[in-house]
Symmetry: C2
Subunit: 124 residues, 2 copies
């Protein structure tokens, strides 16, 4: 579950919510409440919610089937109040839309420094 891989071709959003430490629980709860609605939308793959140890951030690493699925959810009336609740705690929500380009694990094989870049698949 929650596998990060280049193969599955998911659309990735990384959302970093910055708060005062006394608000970490509030933003965490608001994101979980929102996720319980969002996960019902077509194209939702996973939400992986993290709390920072310094209490100042909550990070959501989310996977969608496509940008179109995500945008359809974001426009839907049923989620607007949840986004509003999050914004009231943390300000504007600015997701980083990105793609996995490199997954590196020691088990992926021996490699000489400066040699084969392994799982790198950039088009350039």
């Amino acid at each position: 579950m929650g596998a990060i891989s280049r193969e599955n071709d998911y659309y990735i959003l990384v959302n970093v919510f910055t708060v005062a430490p006394e608000n970490q629980d509030r933003i965490y709860d608001a994101i979980v409440d929102a996720t319980e609605i969002i996960e019902r939308f077509p194209g939702f793959v996973s939400a992986n919610i993290h709390r920072s140890h310094d209490g100042m951030r909550v990070v959501n690493y989310a996977q969608w089937r496509s940008l179109e699925d995500f945008e359809a959810m974001r426009r839907h009336p049923s989620v607007q109040d949840h986004f509003k609740a999050c914004r009231a705690i943390t300000g504007d929500i600015v997701p980083i839309f990105c793609e996995v380009v490199y997954v590196h694990e020691p088990t992926s094989g021996d490699r000489a420094l400066g040699g084969d870049r392994g799982t790198d698949d950039r088009e350039s």
Copy 2:
């Protein structure tokens, strides 16, 4: 590979590198170069490097066995030049040290809104 899970109890670092779009390739290459050294240290589990579609960010989602393993790597002389190369492109590197608290996928079962929070395991 690259599984996000509460069960494995990894120490998570999320690093968001912000750059001008013309420098996205440079910071990406510098992070990959650094990772090829870093992956040799005890306790390294995975690095998962993402490029943002707007060209302005590279996000590394990294998993370590423990904070102690990560800190031992960070202090080691062999990595200092690589960190310096990254900082020269992007400024100070400020990882978000965090833990997975909630993994949500549609396959994890039906749940009524406001009911069982499923995989949430907060201590509070």
